[in-house]
Symmetry: C2
Subunit: 271 residues, 2 copies
């Protein structure tokens, strides 16, 4: 199956797609909107997109695209973000004097740079792109910092692995498809709902879930552009497509302006 | 007054700081944690940090730092993100063949690139940094895309202004200081609170605000690292330091595990 991702070949979305859909063919896209368009047009069978990172928070653009599109979350997946020092084959660790990567990745490997004061960190626009740059452009004495997939993608060698300071760094990905499909083991729902500007209205909306003893695992408000003081809420709750969940959603529609189920899927463990 | 920011000289935080604290001296820092540390140590009088963007969402790292630090929000401010095409003096629009900028900024100026098919877009790690690069390294036939401040900071010339596709692009900034100060016109509160893992507990917590008719303008859950299924919530509500707000906060403490007021300040208009 063809799977669209946003980013360069060898990026973390590529790595996640390989884990979620083994044997898939990756279609890298520059823009996230293009990723969604490709699935809608049917030129790819699915998309794998990051939706939140434990350190950086939610990817608001992807929530906005999910709300606007007719795609459906089929699965969630947590990927541990492991940073690797990757160089051209033949380059040894002792040769490295410059390391390129995205500023956020460089920031997440501060201990490595403190322990190697002779190595200069150079900001680059992308993690996987820094590995490609170092290998394809044959930059001497240099390495990139990226996920392991970047090494296989560009023929690089992993010199060091796990050089990130914080091991609690993981990204949650969604597998999106056109079909509204709910697998039997589905036990988690992602939804969006709009609320008018009224004091206590969110309390009233959440009362629907409380009445059925349903646990929310996420909630986030986003202002609606061009409509000051009106909000759309993105929420996850622990319940699949059963009678109780359906009743709760029905009751929510009496309080909320619009209720959109984004997907009903099996909750993944944080690994 | 010295004001710490995260980012390069000429970045949008620099621009915001100039508007919030006119005449201030900017202290640019590589890391956000350093920005907070400098205010706490007293080597600067204040910090200006972005907290959310209308297109990209919240800056989770800054919420986490706010929760962990003893700094206090003194003001909020909305800055319209206007992208400019900036080149070295003497370079004319007709000369430009390559434009450097952060991938997100390039993405936000798609119409410009569609209308100028002869101009190549080249991803760079930073917006203001791309302007510095083009000017200081005397890159011929090139320009950068950044905020207006980058032009004044590096002696560049604005060739085109407002080349972003979406004019609804604004960033909300906080002015942080060490002092717990509440100005008389303060009418908005930002707070964080932790909740145990219990169905309906968020509903109960929000019931406190609903009971007093207090409007929430933002709510966001963040998982607490290392404590699965426990969450900290970041919320804003429209109320200053008055009797009703104080009573609501007192009642909230009976439901929530920890309640931390991050700041009480005057609500700014979205401009």
């Amino acid at each position: 199956m063809k799977v669209a991702i946003q980013g360069e070949v060898g990026c973390f979305s590529h790595q996640a797609a390989g884990r979620i859909v083994p044997g898939s063919t990756i279609v890298p896209c520059t823009r996230s909107a293009e990723v969604f368009e490709r699935v809608i047009r049917g030129s790819v069978g699915a998309a794998v997109i990051p939706i939140e990172n434990s350190l950086a928070g939610s990817v608001a653009e992807h929530y906005d695209l999910l709300l606007a599109s007719k795609l459906f979350i089929q699965r969630e997946f947590y990927l541990r973000i492991v940073h690797n020092l990757i160089a051209a084959p033949g380059t040894a660790l002792e040769d490295i004097r410059r390391v390129f990567s995205h500023p956020v990745a460089l920031e997440q490997c501060r201990i490595f740079f403190r322990q190697n004061p002779k190595i200069e960190s150079i900001p680059f626009y992308d993690t996987a792109g820094s590995v490609r740059h170092v290998i394809k452009d044959k930059v001497p004495d240099a390495a990139g910092i990226a996920g392991r997939k970047a090494a296989t993608a560009y023929g690089g060698r992993v010199l060091l692995t796990g050089i990130e300071d914080n091991k609690q760094n993981y990204t949650r990905f969604f597998l999106l498809q056109r079909a509204y499909r709910i697998l039997p083991e589905a036990n988690k729902t992602s939804l969006a709902f709009g609320l008018r500007n009224e004091p206590g209205i969110l309390h009233k909306a959440l009362g629907v879930f409380a009445a059925y003893g349903i646990s929310l695992t996420k909630i986030e408000s986003r202002p609606i552009q061009g409509r000051p003081w009106e909000y759309v809420f993105f929420a996850d709750f622990m319940r699949g497509d059963d009678k109780v969940a359906r009743r709760a959603l029905k009751n929510l529609k009496e309080v909320a302006d619009q209720v959109k189920v984004l997907g009903i899927y099996k909750a993944a463990r944080i690994i």
